[in-house]
Symmetry: C2
């Protein structure tokens, strides 16, 4: 059976996979009865066919022509007709929106013949020639690959400083002529006159645009699969550029930056759609339309409500007014900042538009990061030099870069960057990605800069006409003041204020909406969320963020402190048991204080403390540095005590040196061969616990043995932990209940979890190490090839960031099953870095983990992700 | 129900676990009707009870007394009776024989009272007092812990140069007195007079002997579990020391050194058993007994046949002749050299005593190593200086050590050692373990030295009366010539010749018996055996040893050759594609030659060639050495081109340096990021194959991609292998069939074997790496703690030597299952070092591997182990 490649708007049911987001929505709106210009959609299937086969399906042309006849019938116009010509737009529309990334061509169907019909029907020769020159310019650029700047050059030479609306008919005619010559010069062929040829070439250009470099970069940045393909929407033109009763605009049903329910949007009179988005003229806020065109304004206001009622979510839509008649050109789910997402979700639930579960599902856990960004210190004195549009909230403090390349170079040196441009274009994406914030002189709230910045969760101020930017000279002028590259500047995205210099920032505070949403989330959540924290300060912060305990305290971090490291070194270098004992007694005191602070901060909640993990050489001077020092001393003929001392030290450092420290003498292997350190730590934990308990603090210590690969290791270490506990309890005359458990970070531990569970009261996945050993990737070294692996599609993602479900995940699932076979209900958590990453949290939920543990700032993300998992996978948890 | 701790000989059925080897055999012989003195066995259960609880079972004493009454009834004598006293021996006997390791006490029951009865019944006062002094000496040493040497000192002072048989009754009485004084002096208590007390203490001493240091060392060396415990055999004494019509001897039913069917054994007249084994007097060969005591000799000869007929294996037995009456004191399966094991197995099968399967099972695959030992060059001129007993075959060439300590010290320095002693004792075990061979001046074919050396598969010459050894002075004298410590000496264990100096050695040749046995083995074997070989020479040798193909050729070894390394370095350091290309073209030519040689050696058999595996920095100078050089040059103010060059080199070395190279940029990761090298290798393999095929050689190349962890890696690499092959075939106008497969050496590869199998035509386990990642043990570093792990019983064995069935093994089993689920019948082998280790071979057989591959010298071991697995596990293979 032949494939159907083309559907009239509304002919097929809503199906983003097939029709793309834009096509599906145009169809949906057509069926519901919104005033949408007639048209049809060429499916993503056709695009995929084109990409895989290198040419369009053989029957595509015929199907297009068939649907075109339908459109002609409905509009009463004819494509290529010199009396009453139908003009068409061609727009891309993938399943997932990629704003500004893909290509559009307007006014297709114009040539020296049909323009006569357009003039006659519109009675507006100027408009007709303006449309014609726009066709040649866009088609020339997008379809024929003639440099955009060359058209602009011609245009500018004619404008000679005037606005484009001030060009005369004669001037426009000349521009059309010049444009045609330019095209012929550049491509070696005349501009295609045949409307059908124009259409075919434009469709193919959209197909091709799927694989441009910038589209690939965008998809990589947003994790969009490369094999979706795009649909193509062919639609009857309506004209916002027919004069002062015409116009075009872009609007959101709510404010996408703040979430406020207000008439958000912008329009330009006598303009076509791309003028608003491209940010060439700064448009007017929609409410001004009431005065300019009250009839269409009333229709617009009705559309706001109608769209939300139908779609139950914020819509981002485009409209055109042709000679007073209102058209809806497209709608899609509105991208929003995290702050807006939270407010909109909560408001809509409160309004009864959606239920609470839906509200919780509406916020992307990854975006919560944005709410945790630093903000400008409210108590700082601000030298505000300019005011722009508050296009994307947050704060940015950095040095100015005027080009994407400069921004990247500076970022590579580790400098904070604010990208300052007249306007941004898709070519700037990589510069925007590395910048802390973006400031543009032109463009509105829906300009490229604003939309992309919001997508990235970055602070952005757009349309800041107070500043003049000279990108070539790398200069920004505000009044009399000049700012060069690398001058410090600060942005307040929440208010649109541009501030001179480097303003201090402070941690964020949560909105009441956020608190409400998280409360709802917690009510659905079924998996615990803990934090990884090594200090009372981190522990407290995490608890404020909702952590329900500590899943990992890394005690070794405590040994690197200036007051501790010397004792640690003495312990390692001790020549006899006495020397070691003395050093350990000092460390004991300090560790006891560490643990007291943490127990206090976590009063009533469990605290998992891991025994010493890294190999001992990490605490001693670097082998190579020492080697250089000794070599130097020797060559200088230095025979001093210093050389002797260094050589003595070197002996021990060399002894402890390892070829593969990651797989070396560390973790419980240390506790087994050098039990004194672990005994000291256990003593410090339990003495601290007893002291805290005496002060009325509810302590719940969980002592964790790292890097266990064989049940016998845990059996032995648990043996002397319990022995030490007995001693401490006897000495103090107090008993504290505590648990002994293990980290699961080696494949062998997973495979023998049933045996290990005999001795473990809890288990916690160390997925960093487990990923290293399962893949055989050293984290420190794999960077060199992992990027290439991702480019070559060997790996979908970085397994150190997102749990590799197919490999590491299998081992995790096995562990849970086997561990609980031995001990039903065994507490199993995760404390690797993936514990705060939403996709990994979902996986942990599915395999039945008791909790995830992550860094303090990721705790709210994990809470939300865990709640969403409960909602999404009702009854599926193991 | 009360436990039965004591059984009369023959009361319980044959059960080594319960009764120990000696007890079970004494019982068996009693039941069959061999002339065994009456007695009973205290079970190993009683010993384990004693070890675990720290005291004997409460009812043990009563049970012993009960059985003692039975023995008294049968012998007509009474224990502790002054008229007709029963004397007893107490001997240990564990499930697995530990010759010389455990304790024995004879003549229990003698005291100042009972000796009168002994004198009266025997009519031999001298014998009675000789027995008495022996009791005190042995009991004093073994039970009371009085130093053996102190007794010897007293004895020597009385002997004054005479033989012990020349001592008079009065002298013996004085010795008894002196001994008693010595005991009281040393222990603070008089020698225990009560026979029952003597018995209890002796039994406890045997229990205690299980946990002596030397017993532990022996068990560790022989892989005997520590928790078996020993049984205790209490037996009525019969006396070989009653005069010239009495005697004692030790015999084997066949020659345990060569396997020859001959009257093998030794005896001493007028002696007790320990005199023969301890090697104090050099005994006579058994056939001399025909002349000395023809009656008992006839019985002995009957026993040779009767024992083999009953036990169907070589027996090692002890006999005693008391006043012309022949007694069998014990029998056990005879330990034998590998050479003897092979001959005996083949002979017995040929004689119809056992079937061929049993014959194949009779040879320990690990012992085959001995047959592969070097032998003295038959064409060398030998300066034979002495002739001893050919106690254990093989050749040893080394420097003389006179004590076990010296031997260990020399061995640690890597020197080959020959241990030279008057006689060896259990204290010398560790010195014997490190020696290449053992030479003793005293002792027979069944002396301690001979037995232990055969057990260890080491060359030994015993009873070499031509040499005089002064251990204290560290001197050996042969005629007029003196040899000091560290003089070179050579031993020919097959003939007993001692040769001066360092004789050249040559590879072994196999006996026709061995060839026959291996033929039988191959007829039972169901799993293939290949070899790991990197050179034509190794390949050929392995083929001679029976290898059925190459399971692993490591191409990187080829790059380290003097003529290759510079080109490899040029390739790595090349600044551009051209430089790299030139270096690669040189390497291509050399690799092609390598492969041609290997294909030729393996004509008709598969050859698996692994693509480059190690990280590139292994081919460049060492980072630290370079650092020292540069530091030195800088300090010297050297600004020469040399410094520049070194710094340039350092830049690349530093770039390639890795924190954990084992988990770094190696294996297929190299082929993916730097495909040129792999392409060159594939080209070299296929061009070589085509050239060989043109010469009529049957080539079967299997190209192996190392370190795959994700199916996509193999997909990509296989892609360009096939592409390269197409090109080569097109260029040459010839096509060769080849396979592409992968090593399985990462846990993730095992877990996703079903996916990887889509692109793999074969798989081969790299269990070295797989063990490293599964355990998280770096082989280079784990030595530091693995020994401690084994001492602390965390690990049973070294997982790098024997496959860890419970961890690594699970992954292997999973791999086979999943790989074959995708591709039924998929060829899966192993090429890790465990592939030639019998226990691992058995595991590989059980999980259904297609073949094992090991180093050339291990090929026969693997063949035999694989055959034994087939016999042992009929129908159990997956």
């Amino acid at each position: 059976m032949a494939n159907q490649w083309v559907y009239l708007f509304g002919e097929h049911e809503f199906d983003k996979e097939l029709l793309g987001g834009k096509g599906a929505n145009l169809g949906e709106m057509t069926r519901v009865g919104f005033p949408v210009p007639e048209g049809f959609t060429i499916t993503t299937e056709a695009c995929r066919y084109y990409i895989n086969e290198g040419s369009e399906p053989g029957d595509l042309d015929a199907q297009v022509k068939e649907k075109l006849v339908e459109v002609e019938r409905k509009t009463g116009k004819k494509f290529g007709d010199s009396a009453n010509p139908l003009l068409l737009s061609v727009r891309s529309g993938a399943k997932i929106s990629m704003p500004g990334m893909m290509d559009t061509v307007l006014n297709l169907g114009l040539n020296d013949e049909t323009i006569r019909g357009l003039i006659k029907k519109s009675g507006n020769e100027r408009f007709a020639f303006d449309s014609y020159r726009r066709l040649i310019q866009m088609f020339g650029d997008v379809v024929l690959g003639v440099e955009h700047a060359k058209f602009e050059e011609i245009l500018e030479s004619h404008k000679d400083g005037r606005k484009d609306t001030e060009l005369s008919v004669e001037e426009l005619k000349q521009i059309v002529k010049d444009y045609k010559e330019l095209v012929e010069e550049e491509t070696g062929k005349p501009f295609p006159n045949s409307p059908m040829e124009q259409l075919s070439l434009a469709v193919r250009a959209v197909f091709n645009s799927w694989d441009t470099e910038r589209a690939k970069v965008y998809r990589k940045l947003h994790g969009i699969p490369d094999d979706l393909g795009t649909a193509v929407n062919v639609q009857a033109m309506v004209f916002g550029n027919m004069g002062e009763k015409s116009g075009t605009g872009v609007a959101f049903t709510r404010n996408p930056a703040t979430g406020a329910k207000e008439h958000y949007g912008e329009y330009l009179l006598n303009a076509q759609g791309e003028d608003v988005v491209a940010g060439i003229r700064t448009p007017h806020p929609v409410d001004d339309l009431k005065k300019d065109l009250p009839g269409p304004y009333a229709e617009l206001i009705k559309v706001y409500d109608a769209l939300e009622k139908h779609y139950k979510d914020v819509q981002d839509f485009e409209f055109t007014i042709e000679e007073g008649k209102f058209y809806l050109l497209q709608t899609r789910t509105g991208k929003r900042t995290a702050q807006a997402a939270v407010k909109i979700a909560v408001d809509m639930a409160d309004e009864g538009l959606i239920d609470k579960e839906t509200a919780v599902m509406r916020v992307d856990p990854n975006s919560i990061n944005q709410l945790l960004h630093e903000q400008l210190d409210p108590s700082a004195e601000l030298n505000v030099i300019a005011q722009g549009l508050a296009a994307s909230p947050g704060a940015a403090v950095g040095k100015i870069a005027f080009t994407a390349e400069d921004a990247q170079a500076m970022a590579e040196k580790g400098e904070p960057v604010v990208l300052v441009r007249n306007e941004t274009s898709p070519e700037d994406i990589s510069g925007m990605a590395v910048a802390k914030g973006i400031l543009t002189a032109r463009g509105g709230m829906t300009s490229h800069a604003a939309v992309v910045a919001r997508g990235m969760g970055k602070c952005c101020i757009s349309g800041c006409s107070d500043i003049k930017v000279n990108e070539k000279a790398r200069k920004m002028t505000v009044g009399d003041e000049e700012f060069g590259a690398e001058s410090w500047i600060s942005l307040d995205g929440g208010t649109g204020r541009v501030i001179k210099g480097q303003v201090k920032t402070v941690p964020p505070s949560f909105s009441s909406d956020f608190v409400k949403l998280m409360k709802w989330a917690d009510s659905f959540r079924k998996m615990g969320v803990r934090t990884n924290a090594d200090t009372p300060k981190d522990a407290k912060r995490a608890r404020d963020f909702g952590a329900e305990g500590i899943g990992l305290t890394r005690t070794e971090h405590m040994f690197f402190g200036e007051d501790r490291l010397p004792w640690m070194q003495k312990m390692i270098l001790a020549k006899n048991a006495e020397g070691r004992k003395e050093a350990l007694s000092h460390l004991l005191e300090m560790q006891r204080e560490d643990f007291k602070g943490i127990f206090k901060a976590m009063d009533g909640l469990p605290v998992t403390i891991r025994l010493l993990d890294p190999p001992l050489h990490e605490f001693l001077p670097n082998h190579e540095e020492l080697l250089v020092e000794i070599t130097a001393l020797k060559i200088k003929g230095d025979n001093s005590a210093l050389l002797k001392e260094k050589e003595g030290l070197m002996k021990r450092v060399a002894e402890l040196k390892e070829s593969n420290p990651m797989l070396g003498h560390r973790g419980c292997r240390l506790s087994i061969t050098m039990p004194d350190v672990a005994r000291m730590q256990v003593r410090a934990i339990l003495e601290a616990a007893i002291e805290c308990a005496a002060k009325g603090i509810d302590v719940k210590p969980e002592i964790e043995v790292p890097l266990v690969g064989h049940a016998n290791e845990l059996k032995l270490v648990k043996g002397f932990i319990d022995e030490t506990a007995k001693k401490v309890f006897a000495e103090k005359g107090e008993t504290i209940s505590y648990k002994v458990g293990t980290m699961i970070e080696l494949p062998r531990a997973c495979l023998t979890a049933n045996e290990i569970a005999e001795y473990a009261e809890f288990m916690s996945f160390g997925t960093n190490d487990l990923t290293q050993t399962t893949f055989g990737f050293s984290r420190d070294d794999a960077g060199k090839f992992i990027t290439e692996y991702r480019d070559k599609k060997i790996l979908d993602g970085d397994p150190f960031a997102v749990i590799d479900r197919n490999g590491v995940g299998q081992l995790m699932e096995l562990t849970v099953k086997r561990g609980r076979a031995t001990k039903p209900g065994l507490e199993v958590g995760i404390c690797g870095e993936q514990g705060g990453e939403p996709d990994s949290v979902e996986f942990c939920y599915l395999i039945g983990l008791s909790y995830v543990s992550c860094s303090p700032f990721r705790v709210p993300i994990a809470r939300l992700a865990a709640a969403q998992s409960s909602i999404k996978h009702k009854g599926l948890r193991k």
